[in-house]
Amino acid sequence: MAENLPSPGEQVVIAKPALQSVFKALDSAGYTLIAPVLRNEAIIYDEVSSVDELPIGWTAETGPGHYRLEQRGDESFFGFPAGPSTWKGYLYPSRLKLFSVSKNGGGYQTVPNQDVSPSYAFIGVRACELAAIAIQDRVFIEGPFQDPHYEARREKAFILAVNCTEPGETCFCASMGAGPRCTQAFDLALTELRDAFVIEIGSPLGARMLLDVEWSFAGALELGRADQKITDAENQMGRTLDTSDLPGLLYDNLEHPRWDDVAERCLSCTNCTLVCPTCFCSDMKDISDLTGANTERVRVWDSCFNPDFSYVHGGHLRPNIRARYRQWLTHKLASWIDQFGTSGCVGCGRCITWCPVGIDLTEEIAAIRDEA
């Protein structure tokens, strides 16, 4: 390589302000940068152009049904647990036009959605989120059929990951083997130290984004500090989930009284499924003009908590909240493994935090396990 750039697998150190040069390099390479920002009383993902837009110095207190922004009292760039946004919102948007159809004589003409899919650079992807993306890859790319829209966005996406050093009260990625250390594919992975970032190079493309950045190879001291921070995070998980034989536990307890108990509390409002970074259910709808001659077919997010979800002529197969919560949890933690060879849960805790009534799946599983 003509330029002096680090290679995949190598770890370098940059000063914190130098991250702006990485942003600039990504911007010059044509990426739309999506990063954590402070908005609407939360840290969400949105388009940015500068590191100044990151929620520097902010964190959030999380709990079941509870999220509050707080100032940290320091200048951390990534010192907060995952918020309500997911990268799935970019790879698998909540609404997507599939094609349009118009009447053409006696027949129809189909016009596929050939919009150029956006090139995103995702900034600050946590290990649990990398795991979630890998899970959705299995659904949309690695099965017998491929979703070309997801695939195009996914292939183009640049991933700047962050080793999590700030797990929240509802986090349990360590139980799920999904974090806090980034082990799945990324282009660059940061670990934030007080005055510097340690960056692991994940791909040659990632290395190229350091072209205008002053970097040096990480020394033992920096690597040790970074490693310690991640280890500390692993020990600070707010929650744990005993994952031993979850399929057996759930399949054997489909009539457990705990389902009635949780049905009393669950709102069936769909929040857990929509904040979940792996939930992938969708519906398709036709939108036509008044004459019916022109139609757009769109895909929209759906949820197994919607009564219509299980509709077959004659009625809803899961006609109550008990049946729907049972379907969701059993799918997430048991049948997902049968279907895709992996759990559907990465332990990010979003479903606990963003449940308006604070239902905690780790508690539900513990209750079923104890009384099983």
């Binding site: 999220y67 509050r68 922004l69 309500p84 669950c266 409002c269 929040n271 036509s288 008044l290």
Partner: protein, 260 residues
């Protein structure tokens, strides 16, 4: 729907504020297409000329609050192939159904200088309490997009695609942060039917349930969460007793929390 002549559309008003029928006029861009696709036979707010029935599609706004309205809605039903109740008043009785919990004469005597001129029913009730309704559009006011979808579907000959999900699904789809979880603001979104594109939470306030209860939701559990957030039972009761307060599920919840 007959192809020979244009389908005939009628719009009738009962006890209501006119806001829902204005949604039809609010269709602006699409209004000409609607006017081209149907014959607007009876719509006193839009057209001076009125044509007698029968009508293919009749939109009915407002609740039934007088004896005269009971007879009138029966006649409208007789004249209509598809009768569509539009808005919170027509589908749940509207805000005026607050009278259903008290003696209406108390209101009449308090509000009117000459109460003896007032002839009213003791209750404000939805259209479906009096006649068979083919479709309902919820909302206070209704969504013009749903109105267009309904007219389109009837013209094409299929069932309308109307939302069956909660407001929460729309907040998440448009990226609005949950106001209850992030700010402790009581929000009826989790138990309220979507269709409004979750407009209130997007402006940082809680949903007040104007599209009425979502099918098979859990308002009691939500109300208990409001109380955990510091609301009194009376406040929770009032939250449910709004524009759709007389819709059965919200009615039960409002009564459940009244004395909590």
């Amino acid at each position: 729907m007959s192809t020979a002549a244009k389908p005939r559309l009628a719009v009738y008003k009962f006890a209501s504020c006119d806001g829902c029928q204005l949604s039809l006029l609010d269709c602006e861009d699409e209004l000409l297409a609607v006017a081209g696709a149907v014959e607007i036979a009876y719509f006193v707010e839009a057209r001076r000329q009125t044509l007698a029935g029968p009508y293919d599609i009749t939109l009915v706004e407002g609740s039934v609050t007088t004896e005269e309205e009971i007879e009138r809605i029966k006649e409208v039903r007789r004249q209509s192939r598809f009768l569509v109740a539009i808005g919170a008043c027509a589908t749940a009785g509207g805000i005026q159904s607050l009278r259903n919990w008290i003696d209406v004469n108390d209101y009449v005597n308090t509000v009117y200088a000459t109460p003896e001129y007032i002839d009213t029913l003791a209750t404000s009730k939805p259209i479906s309490d009096y006649v068979e309704v083919d479709f309902e559009l919820r909302g206070c006011p209704i969504s013009k997009y749903q109105l267009l979808e309904l007219v389109t579907s009837l013209l094409i000959g299929r069932l309308p695609h109307l939302p069956s999900h909660s407001v929460c699904q729309e907040c998440k789809a448009r990226g609005t942060v949950c106001v209850t979880v992030a700010q402790g603001i009581p929000c009826l979104g989790p138990v309220t039917l979507g269709g409004c594109w979750a407009i209130c939470p997007a402006f940082n306030r809680g949903c007040y349930g104007c599209f009425g209860p979502v099918e098979d939701g859990n308002p009691i559990a939500l109300g208990e969460q409001f109380m955990a957030l510091g609301q009194t039972g009376a406040q929770v009761s009032r939250a449910f007793r709004g524009f759709n307060g007389y819709a059965p599920v919200f009615r039960q919840a409002s009564e459940y929390f009244e004395d909590k």
